[in-house]
């Protein structure tokens, strides 16, 4: 029984190491940008009034945050695209491969990290505004 337990512990340590070693800047960015895209698109669907194509955009917090979030998402995706841009990635739609030159890699990685970090607080603000709006709506409905 103790032997089985120690085997399990070793396996868990290996799995943890595997989990953390599987992280690269591009994989982290893909995860973060996938989540933020989901949040942004959900709100875009609910707030058509924030779309400039539908007329004058109201000066609401949600419209301001949505506009910012879309712009920052676009910037972060461009930074990821630049970070990955090996010849095979660009020409053959191959896998992301950062530059082999350490200086170029560091520069593009910094830009990518900054772009993803800049987006995070906007998404958090967007979520908190949406949640507070929901709470107000529920209170209003409950109060009637």
């Amino acid at each position: 029984m103790p032997k089985q337990r120690s085997l399990l512990v070793i396996l868990l340590v290996l799995l943890a190491l595997a989990w953390f070693s599987g992280c690269t800047p591009e994989r982290d960015a893909v995860r973060a940008l996938g989540a933020s895209k989901g949040t942004i698109e959900a709100e875009m669907g609910k707030h058509g009034e924030c779309n400039p194509a539908n007329g004058t955009v109201p000066a609401t917090q949600i419209c301001s945050l949505l506009g910012k979030a879309i712009a920052f998402q676009h910037t972060a995706v461009l930074a990821l695209d630049a970070y990955c841009s090996s010849t095979d990635y660009l020409a053959n739609h191959g896998q992301c491969l950062p530059p082999t030159d350490p200086a170029a890699k560091k520069e593009l990685q910094t830009k990518l990290t900054v772009a993803v970090q800049d987006l995070a607080p906007i998404i958090n603000n967007l979520k908190s505004v949406v949640n507070s709006t929901k709470t107000v709506s529920i209170k209003t409905v409950g109060g009637k």
């Binding site: 595997a18 599987g22 994989r27 879309i70 990955c84 082999t100």
Partner: protein, 75 residues
Amino acid sequence: MTLAAVIALLQWSLPLAEAALAAATKSKAPQEFLDALQGAVSGLQKVAGISEPTRAQVLALDIDPAAWGPAPAKS
């Protein structure tokens, strides 16, 4: 249980292979050696279920600000 352990070991060896590839590229190793290492990294990524994103996957994350809709022209 066994499969999970094998996958974990493969994932664990992946960064080592990636580091070896980076070092070999930096030291300008022979092209055949680099190709073999690149093949090993790709193989490990596929087997371990980890792969770097492709350009199509990256571009799919984009939300084009222009697609949100331009402001209507003033009359």
